[in-house]
C-alpha cells in the first residue's frame, strides 16, 4: 500500500487533525490528516483510493479499539474530527460524482428525547465508513422521518433513544415508517434497548455498538449489490 495512505489511516486512527494539532503528543509537529490528504491528491491518488485505503481503514481501526474498550468517546471524536477535516478535500469529488457514498442513512433521536451523544458518535462512525449521514437531530417525530425518507429513496433509518419511556416512542415511529415504506430497513439503538425490544417493535437491527451497525449497513449494501 502507498505509504501516504497508511499515514492518513494512522492520522485518522490517532486523531491527528493537522500540523498544528497538539494531539496526540506522540505525533506533535507532524503532518495530519488535513495536509496528507491534500498531498495525496496532488500526488495523483484518486479520491476513492484515499477514502477506501486511507480514511475508512483509519476509522475502522479506531472503531475496533472503541468496541473493545481500548479507546473512549474523546478519542473517537478526535478521530472523527481528523476524518472530517480530510473529507473537506474530497467533498468536491462527491459533488461531481467521481466518488460515491455506500448509501444514505437518516438518523435521529426519537420524539421526547434530547439525548444526542450516542447518535452523534454512531453518525460519525457511519460517515467514516463511507455512508452519507443525514442527521435529523433530536426530538424527531415520525413525520420528520417520513419526509426524510421520501426525500432520500432507498435510504436506511436509524433511531436512537436514552430512556425506557422515550424508547417506547420508537414503536409508533417504526410502525408508521414500515406502513409507508414496506422495504425500508430500520436500525435502533440506545441505552435501554435490547434485541427483544427491537424484534417486538418490528425494527430490523439492534446494535450495542457503532461497529455492529456499520457491519449491518455494509451487509445491506452487499445484498443489494450497490
Amino acid at each position: 500500500m502507498n505509504s501516504i495512505l497508511e499515514r492518513i489511516a494512522a492520522c485518522v486512527e490517532n486523531g491527528k487533525v493537522n500540523m498544528k494539532s497538539p494531539y496526540p503528543p506522540s505525533m506533535r509537529g507532524q503532518e495530519g490528516a488535513d495536509e496528507l490528504t491534500a498531498e495525496a491528491l496532488k500526488e495523483g491518488l484518486t479520491p476513492t483510493e484515499i477514502l477506501d485505503l486511507g480514511l475508512i481503514p483509519g476509522m475502522n481501526a479506531i472503531g475496533l479499539k472503541f468496541s473493545e474498550n481500548r479507546a473512549f468517546v474523546p478519542e473517537m471524536l478526535m478521530a472523527a474530527k481528523a476524518m472530517s477535516t480530510a473529507m473537506l478535500h474530497l467533498k468536491p469529488y462527491f459533488a461531481s460524482g467521481d466518488i460515491e457514498y455506500k448509501g444514505v442513512i437518516v438518523i435521529g433521536t426519537v420524539s421526547g428525547d434530547l439525548h444526542d451523544i450516542g447518535k452523534n458518535l454512531v453518525g460519525m462512525a457511519m460517515e467514516g465508513a463511507g455512508w452519507r449521514v443525514i442527521d435529523l437531530g433530536v426530538d424527531v417525530s415520525a413525520g420528520r422521518f417520513i419526509s426524510a425518507v421520501e426525500e432520500n429513496p432507498g435510504c436506511v433509518v436509524g433511531l436512537s433513544a436514552l430512556l425506557t419511556t422515550t424508547m417506547l416512542n420508537m414503536e409508533s415511529i417504526v410502525r408508521e415508517l414500515k406502513e409507508r415504506f414496506g422495504m425500508l430497513k430500520i436500525l435502533v439503538g440506545g441505552a435501554p434497548l435490547n434485541q427483544e425490544f427491537c424484534t417486538r417493535i418490528g425494527a430490523d437491527y439492534y446494535g450495542r455498538s457503532s461497529q455492529g451497525a456499520i457491519a449491518y449497513l455494509n451487509s445491506l449494501q452487499d445484498a443489494t449489490g450497490q
Partner: protein, 342 residues
C-alpha cells in the same frame, strides 16, 4: 397510609454501609417524586411553596414508606449550584447544550458560586421535624464531572481535554474545590448521616472519559470529598450511572466510598454486582428501572424478595436502580418495597 412496621433506625443503614448484616431489610432510594409523596401523605406536594413545608412532607413520606432516613435535594438546602445557559428539557436533556465556558476568557469571567455563601440553615431546622431514629442524606448539586460537562458541553470537553488540557484541568479544579467545600460544610451538620456523591461517569459500554483521564481530572477531587465526609464521621455513597466496571477498584480502594448506587440490567445486574463487589463495598438499590417500569407487581416483588434472600441484608439495601421518577407506576414501586416491609 399511617403506619410502618418498624421504627426508623439509621443505625440499620450504617450497618449496611459497614457491610454488616442489618437486623431487618433496609430500604434505599436516591430520590423520589412529588406525585408519590402526595399519594403517600394524602397532601398536594405541588401546592407547597415553602422549602420547609416540602421537606416536612418528603420526610413524612420517607417515614411512612419505611425508610430510616430522608434524602433532601441540595436545592432545598443551600442555593449553591453551578449555573449554565438554559437547557431545553423534555424527558431527557442534551449533554452538549447550554455550555458557558469554551476558552480561557470565559473560564476566568465565569461567575463561580461560593459554597460558604449558600444557606444551610434548613439542615438545623430539619432536626425539629425528623422522626426519632431518622437522619438526613444529602446529595450534591451534581458531581465534578457532571458539572464540568454542564459548563463546557460534553463533546467540547472531549476536544478540550486533548487540545487545551491545562484549561480542562483548571475547570475540573475550579468545580472540584467548590464541591469539596460544599461537602465539608454539609457533612458537619448533626442532622446529616450520609452524603451522596452524584456524578455519572459511564455510558452503556464504557466510561464517559478514559479511566486514565478520570484518574487525572476527576478522581482526585472525589477522593478528597470522601475524606472530608469521613473526617466528619459520615458515610459516602457514590451514585454513578453507566458502565464504570473499569474503575470500580478506584472507587473502592482509592476513593474509599462506603457504598455504590445505580445499577442497570443492561450493564451489570445488581445481583451480579453484589457477587462481584459486595464484599468490598455496600451495594444499594439496583432493581433495574426498565424492569421496574415494565414488569408486573408480582414479578417485581419476587425479584426484590430474591435479592433480599441472596444478600441476607448484609451490605445491601433494597431499592431501584436509579430513583423513583413520576413514570415509575406507584403500584410497581410499592410492590418492590413490599418485599422488605411485608
Amino acid at each position: 397510609m399511617d403506619k410502618r412496621r418498624y421504627n426508623p433506625d439509621f443505625n440499620q443503614l450504617v450497618k449496611i454501609f459497614r457491610r454488616e448484616k442489618a437486623d431487618r431489610p433496609v430500604l434505599f432510594e436516591y430520590f423520589m417524586n412529588g406525585e408519590l409523596f402526595s399519594h403517600i401523605t394524602g397532601l398536594s406536594f405541588e401546592e407547597l411553596t415553602d422549602p420547609m413545608d416540602k421537606i416536612r412532607m418528603i420526610t413524612r413520606a420517607f417515614y411512612l414508606l419505611g425508610y430510616d432516613y430522608v434524602t433532601i435535594p441540595s436545592r432545598y438546602l443551600t442555593g449553591f449550584s453551578f449555573e449554565a445557559a438554559g437547557h431545553e428539557k423534555k424527558e431527557t436533556v442534551s449533554l452538549n447544550e447550554g455550555a458557558v465556558i469554551n476558552d480561557r476568557n470565559s473560564f476566568e469571567s465565569y461567575n463561580w458560586p461560593v459554597p460558604e455563601e449558600g444557606s444551610y440553615r434548613l439542615l438545623e431546622d430539619v432536626t425539629g421535624i425528623l422522626p426519632e431514629g431518622m437522619k438526613v442524606i444529602v446529595p450534591g448539586p451534581g458531581g465534578v464531572l457532571e458539572n464540568v460537562i454542564y459548563l463546557v458541553g460534553f463533546e467540547s470537553l472531549c476536544f478540550m481535554i486533548f487540545e487545551d488540557e491545562d484549561l480542562a484541568k483548571d475547570i475540573f479544579d475550579a468545580v472540584g474545590a467548590r464541591l469539596l467545600r460544599f461537602y465539608e460544610i454539609v457533612s458537619s451538620y448533626d442532622s446529616v448521616g450520609a452524603l451522596i456523591v452524584n456524578d455519572d461517569w459511564g455510558f452503556k459500554n464504557q466510561t464517559m472519559l478514559s479511566p486514565d483521564t478520570l484518574r487525572r481530572m476527576v478522581f482526585p477531587w472525589q477522593k478528597k470529598i470522601v475524606e472530608a465526609i469521613h473526617r466528619n464521621g459520615k458515610y459516602a455513597v457514590l451514585h454513578s450511572c453507566g458502565n464504570i466496571s473499569d474503575v470500580m477498584d478506584d472507587i473502592i480502594e482509592d476513593m474509599k466510598f462506603d457504598a455504590k448506587h445505580s445499577f442497570e440490567d443492561n450493564i451489570v445486574p445488581v445481583e451480579r454486582a453484589y457477587e462481584m463487589w459486595g464484599r468490598r463495598i455496600a451495594i444499594m438499590g439496583g432493581i433495574d428501572m426498565d424492569f421496574l417500569v415494565r414488569s408486573t407487581p408480582d414479578e417485581i416483588t419476587m425479584r426484590a424478595g430474591n435479592i433480599l434472600r441472596l444478600t441476607d441484608s448484609k451490605g445491601y439495601a433494597l431499592g431501584s436502580g436509579n430513583s423513583i421518577p413520576p413514570y415509575v407506576p406507584v403500584e410497581n414501586y410499592m410492590a418492590m418495597i413490599y418485599a422488605a416491609t411485608r
